[in-house]
Amino acid sequence: MSEVSHNGDGYVVVAEDLVKHFKSGTLTVRAVDGVSLRVQAGRMVAVRGPSGSGKSTLLNLIGALDRPDSGLLSVDGVLVSRLSGRSEAAYRRSKVGFVFQSFNLIPQLTAVENVQVPMDLAGQPRTGAEREERARELLRHVGLPPDRHDRRPSRLSGGEQQRVAIARALANDPPVLLADEPTANLDSRTGRVIVQLLRRLTEEGRTVIVATHDRAIAASAHEILEMRDGRLVPPGRGDPEPA
């Protein structure tokens, strides 16, 4: 894995002139168009903007779910923009956890098994029993009652599924948690609970980057980044002050 050090300046995520364009027929969609940013460790950052502004693509690039066309991106000392193949997979396993809007749990696995998958892939902890114990601990940590641990996703509510997804994202103890519209499929009360949970994770020293168009979530963040047409713009008038 390519490494660059950012320990000195305290930034865990550094992007320089990051570009990602898509071809759509004859049109070129400038999803991320020269984004530069720096995120300090232990902060919750909200990336806000309307649909199509490029916030999900930015998170995908940070999470190595997609590759930038150009620019530099480093996360926790890893030069993500130069990863490929096994090093890219290793980065996804150890450096970032991803929480999706629609949870994206594997339907044939139980809650505890879904949380175990990243640990199985990493081979840590060493034994299956240890991994299961850690998975149950994580599920308890995110507030999923023990009687739900062995249920499949289809037998869990939306909020419970998102808790499982957050536990899975935390499975390998990554320094960065990426959440793409984590409350979009939840009712407002459950959404608030999930936001509080994400915010609480930053108190453990984790960095949380949330893509959202929900003002309430943004209000909970330490910092808000506004995106328009693939670019970061200054926060608009009337936006809440960062907490």
Binding site: S56, T57, N60, G63, L65, D66, G85, R86, A89, A90, R92, R93, S94, F98, F100, Q101, S102, N104, L105, I106, Q108, V117, P118, D120, L121, A122, G123, G128, R168, A171, N172
Partner: protein, 454 residues
């Protein structure tokens, strides 16, 4: 190991999908194994047939019966088609010829020797008796077989006979008035070794008694060729010549040389090889069909697994995306899909192998079309007419006895337990194919693309 465990759990947790795939794969695998087994059985049968092709080229008078046939005249007015020995000169010196055996075979029906079979015995042997009212017993002709004394005693079909008393003819018996008599002829005429009997005024000594196993084949008397020719006033005449080639590879060459020497209109020249063409052809046709079936089954199995993997991969593309998003490598995914495919195809292979046992014979019988061959010699039709009308009978329409049992009416398919090993090999092959397809498919999946659309 963790990946394999996850793969097996996936298989177990999707019982309907797994069962559907197993059924389709089991059918394909069964077809492959059945065709493989049937192909092997046909191959063994062909080898068996080839192994029984003799090195004999048979020369008979023209029109005396082309397919193992032998026209035998009976009675004082009958005329036996013959070859003149003077026409046969030069056979011994043909290339690849190791021996030439002449014989004179004719039927005898008279007072010197008698053989009577009951109507029931005749009917048991499928003999159709035409003309006149049924009678209780029938006198049947006795075959007089004048042979080269050094040759092996055989029935007209070519089956060797057992000398049960006395001895067979030998080289010293050439021209002597001696005979080896069939068991039924000996019993009905009260003859034992050392006795004498009259045949057309010549006194013959019984030096041996043989048992060929059937009453018809025992209705014969072997004499030295020269002795029979003298008795019948048929010096210089023979009814059959057996020319032996030095190897099966040279039979065709010898047959052509004999035909060229004697001329097409002076003799019918046949060989085991030409007789076997009629037997071998349907087996080879069936074998070819089974090979085509085998290839089709293999292609079908491959197509099934490829389509199944593509279909399953498409159905599970989100799962692939999720796994890659949480850190699975393409190799891990391919291993998982490979293990899933292996477990399904092994189960399908075992089921397919089990299905092979009852179905292989059915398929073989279906592939082997009715060769429309004449009946084996053991049941050859002996057609007799009543009284004076009984002038001849034809021991025809059958293969020589040493070739009997190779008719391809059915091929016994023996399914060996090794089919389970083949099934495992097929399963492994299919799994490798599935892994290759999934590797191609999984490698193309970008998590951001498949997880973008909810």
């Amino acid at each position: 190991m963790r990946t394999a465990g996850r793969a097996l759990r996936n298989v177990a947790r999707s019982p309907l999908r797994s069962a559907q795939l197993v059924v389709v794969l089991a059918v394909s695998t069964a077809l492959t194994l059945i065709m493989l087994t049937v192909y092997g059985s046909f191959g063994q049968r062909l080898e068996q047939i080839k192994g029984r092709i003799g090195t004999t080229v048979t020369v008979r008078p023209p029109g005396s019966g082309g397919f193992g046939g032998l026209a035998i005249a009976v009675g004082p007015d009958a005329t036996t088609p013959v070859l003149q020995e003077s026409d046969l000169e030069g056979l011994e010196s043909l290339e690849h010829v190791v021996s030439v055996e002449r014989s004179y075979v004719t039927g005898y029906q008279g007072d010197d020797l008698k053989l009577v079979l009951s109507q029931e015995d005749l009917q048991k042997r499928g003999v159709v008796v035409r003309g006149g009212p049924p009678s209780i017993e029938k006198q049947i002709p006795i075959l007089l077989n004048g042979m080269t004394p050094t040759a092996t005693l055989t029935t007209v079909d070519g089956n060797p006979v057992d000398v049960t008393a006395g001895r067979a003819l030998s080289g010293e018996d050439a021209g002597r008035d001696v005979a080896v008599v069939g068991l039924d002829v000996a019993e009905q005429n009260g003859l034992v070794v050392g006795d004498t009997f009259q045949l057309r005024g010549v006194t013959l000594e019984v030096i041996g008694i043989f048992d060929a196993g059937t009453q018809f084949d025992n209705a014969a008397v072997f004499l030295p060729l020269g002795t029979l020719q003298r008795i019948l006033d048929a010096e210089g005449e023979v009814t059959q010549v057996r020319v032996r080639a030095d190897s099966t590879e040279h039979v065709d060459e010898v047959e052509d040389a004999v035909r060229a020497l004697l001329g097409e209109d002076r003799a019918d020249v046949t060989s085991d090889a030409s007789l076997f063409e009629g037997i071998r052809a349907p087996v080879e046709d069936a074998r070819r069909s089974s090979l085509i079936g085998l290839l089709a089954a293999v292609v079908a199995s491959g197509a099934v697994i490829v389509l199944a993997v593509v279909l399953v991969s498409r159905q599970r593309i989100k799962e692939i995306g999720i796994l890659k998003a949480v850190g699975a490598t393409s190799g891990t995914m391919v291993t998982q899909f490979g293990v899933e495919a292996l477990s399904l195809s092994v189960v399908a292979g075992i089921l397919g192998a089990l299905a092979t046992f009852p179905l292989a014979q059915v398929v073989a019988d279906g592939l082997l079309s009715d060769p429309a061959m004449p009946a084996p010699s053991g049941s050859s039709g002996l057609t007799a007419s009543k009284g004076a009308a009984i002038k001849s009978f034809q021991v025809a329409g059958g293969l020589p006895g040493h070739l009997s049992g190779v008719l391809p009416g059915s091929v016994d398919v023996v399914v060996e337990p090794v089919v389970f090993l083949y099934a495992l090999a097929i399963g492994a092959g299919l799994a490798v194919m599935a892994a290759a397809v999934s590797a191609w498919y999984v490698g193309r999946v970008r998590p951001a693309e498949v997880l973008r659309y909810e």
